[in-house]
Amino acid sequence: MEQTTIWQHISNFFEGTVFVYGVSMLLMYAVLAVLSFISIRMFQKKASYADYTKILGSSLAPGISVIAPAFNEGVTIISNVRSLLTLNYPKFEVIIINDGSTDDTLQKMISEFEMVEVEFAYNEKIVSQPVKRIFKSTNRAYEKLMVIDKVNGKSKADASNAGINAAAFDYFLCTDVDCIIEKDTLLRMIKPFMDEEAKKTKEMGEPCPECGYRHVIEDSRRVIATGATLRIANSCEIDEGVITRVRPPRKWLPRFQEMEYIRAYVLGKMGWSFINCVPNVSGGLGLFDKEIAIKAGGYDHKSFGEDMDLVTRMCSYMRNNKLKYAIRYIPTTQCWTEGPPNMKVFSRQRTRWGRGLFQIMAIHKKIIFNPRYGRLGLVVFPYNLFFEFLAPIIEGMGILYYLYIIVTGQINWPFAKILLLFVFTYSVMITTLAVLWDQITYRHYKTWREVLGLCLMAFLEPFIYHPLIVVFALRGYFFFITNRKHVWGNMQRQGFGKKPQAV
């Protein structure tokens, strides 16, 4: 008898917690939807008159180093490098890191772009696997290009670090050589950096007893990173590294991903950007302040979520040094990336993401709820802990609990159905709103049928796609706890099923 009451308490408590959790999660989404709408409207208003071409003719434009690691990309390397060289920007360089490819990636670049080895004074500010050689072109037309040949570091992080070390300019754009970047990307992404006031200082406190002067500290909010929306390139028509027709993926798995990306970037990141709480700048495309990235220690090659890890460390560096910072997102799509086309690669990718998230929570646990870290500690990390990291666990437990009460016949079917219907319609609403926000930003796709085809995926998501993500994330957590060696080595980048791009 007594045992039943204890069980009753536990079950009441569990139901109560899950209920509060669920409600706050739905509330978060609603808030994000509103915030992202405001910031997209704001962006649209400015975009209606902003003239990015003004940067083109200006000698005041800051230089940008475009950093793109390549591993066994022989098939597409030439057209992709060429497409990076045709970006619209007055002052930039392109640094390709050949991360110990075993195919002809390097030879192809050397012969196509007339490259020779140069004696380059490489300064290893961030430690990476050794750099073997550095190449520059003898042809003046390719003087923006630099190729670094390094020992394979088994990660994109390690390769990117070598690129950052060799970069000449104050800002660097981190991308993948197989990503297709829209030509105005640099112009659009540098704008948020220029929309904050220029560097300035102020005097602090009483005169210093040693030197007799008041100490000078930095006093300007510095944008340390910007990001933009990414989309899936799988069914787009691509001609020599130039997108000629944007189309939602035909196959269902990549199409779910496209929907997920739109929701995560246009609704999620834009909402966070509005309150300066962006948790992560995607590894596929991000523009960073090099000085801060180096001071934060660059990418961690041991991390499974190296992009979020770097952003977190950059933010905590700023907080530790009492500097004001901002991370901004723009809603326009600037980058198309090949999404995992099949279940095998997809499960690998998501398991890795899950593992990466756990790792970041573990490494940076001191930030969580730490008021010293400001919004990073009080908003970004708690959100990530509860609604990103714990979500799969709680959902998993919830499903088990549901099964339990079904089996024991305790379920109140009418109420359960009503609640399920509610969660279902709510998730469809959020996704549909995300697609609408995206359409407000830019009218992607040629026909309304394609847009509807994407929207309708929202109805299937809770049954097909979402459970997969939960399972893979849990698998990632399990791997992290059991510290299983990641057996796939370089496959996480190569794994995108490098098929020759359709002409």
Partner: protein, 386 residues
């Protein structure tokens, strides 16, 4: 909670006869389900509507623009009178070609304005003037001025952009209040317009502006100042000396370099005592680019007490001045410092001395450590730019 119940329960009672008996949670869930369904439907409707409206807009533009291009090419770009060198004011424009219903709608008039601006971005000179004349004779400036009266700030900004693109003058009474607007975007744009269009004292606002100029503002202002014809360029040293706004000072330094205002050098040298190291490094940079070698000794003198960014700028400046007086200083820094960037910039500056430093370079190459030798070779390699 009670309040919620009091609010929701009667609302639903009408539709669900047993609604009252549900727990509050379920009642809210039902209510929100309805909200979600309605929002989803609205979202679908707006997606379809937006796409429809957008494609109609595109179609309209696609109809108007070719007609417009034809007329503009024929009667403006390839204008015979223009080719013969007739003054722009005397060239008659074929306004009758615009005299059809298709060009009369507000939509079309806006499309014409945007097309004209696009043409003016590509063509200046007489063609640009003739395009402006067309804009005026079609009365399109009324559209632009009309937007200035709008209550929406983004419409006002658009208006200012159109008017500046067309070089229309705006009365001071209309524009000066906008330069103090609470909206940052509008304020900035109004200032740009003021500098470009004001005939008297375009730089007046440098005296009054108290908040910082953003990098973007500086870029736009720089472009406007350096490309607007018949703007009288003042001696920017005035603001370097007297302005308390650091971003204005930094910006004026760039203008001084652009216009090579040697007379500003003494006031820049005074900035070397400023406490703000960013401003100091900007000043050192400007001195180098002006090749102000009278400051060289002072730079070497203050070198050791400077933070890294200023030290690097000093090394660069000495290289730019290229007098050869301080080659030994550069050499000493190159050999002494453990900082990579200092050695690299010292090396670059030694090399940029060309024949002055040939001997020293040879000696350094022979005796330097492996890493230093690599730095020298890096800097000497013409294939490596930075």
């Amino acid at each position: 909670m009670l309040l919620l119940e009091a609010f929701f329960a009667p609302f639903f009672r009408r539709y669900f006869y047993y609604f009252d008996s549900y727990p509050l949670v379920i009642q809210i869930a039902i209510f929100l389900t309805v909200v979600a369904i309605v929002s989803t439907v609205i979202a679908y409707a707006s997606i379809l509507y937006r796409r429809y409206r957008g494609s109609r807009h595109d179609k309209k533009i696609a109809r108007i623009n070719p007609l417009l291009d034809e007329i503009l090419t024929e009667s403006i770009i390839l204008n015979d009178d223009l080719a013969e060198g007739k003054p722009v004011e005397e060239i008659p424009l074929p306004l009758e070609k615009f005299d059809r219903p298709r060009f009369k709608t507000p939509f079309a008039r806006q499309a014409i304005i945007e097309r004209l601006i696009h043409y003016r971005k590509n063509f200046s000179g007489d063609i640009g003037l003739l395009l402006r004349k067309l804009y005026i004779e079609l009365g399109l400036e009324k559209e632009s001025f009309g937007k200035l009266k709008s209550f929406k700030w983004d419409r006002k900004v658009k208006s200012l952009i159109e008017l500046t693109a067309m070089d229309m003058s705006i009365a001071d009474v209309n524009i000066l209040p906008l330069t103090n607007s609470k909206n940052r975007e509008l304020r900035a744009e109004a200032r740009h317009a003021y500098i470009k269009l004001s005939k008297n004292e375009p730089f007046k606002f440098f005296d009054v502006v108290s908040e910082p100029l953003l990098m973007w503002d500086q870029l736009e202002l720089f472009k406007i100042i350096t490309t607007t014809k018949d703007i009288s360029i003042p001696n920017f040293a005035r603001w370097v000396t007297y302005s308390s706004n650091k971003s204005v000072v930094a910006f004026c330094l760039k203008l001084i370099v652009h216009y090579n205002q040697q007379e500003a050098v003494p006031s820049i040298i005074k900035l070397l005592d400023n406490k703000d190291h960013y401003l100091r490094s900007n000043a050192i940079n400007a001195l180098g680019k002006l090749k102000a070698d009278e400051a060289e000794d002072k730079l070497v003198q203050i070198y050791s007490s400077q933070p890294l960014d200023c030290q690097l700028e000093i090394l660069k400046a000495i290289g730019r001045m290229g007098t050869g007086k301080n080659l030994t200083f550069l050499r000493q820094e190159f050999l002494r410092s453990s900082d990579f960037d200092i050695r690299k910039n010292a090396a670059k500056s030694i090399i940029s001395h060309k024949q002055h430093s040939e001997e020293m370079l040879g000696e350094l190459l022979d005796t330097a450590t492996a890493e230093n030798k690599l730095i020298l070779k890096h800097c000497m390699n013409p294939l490596i730019k930075y």
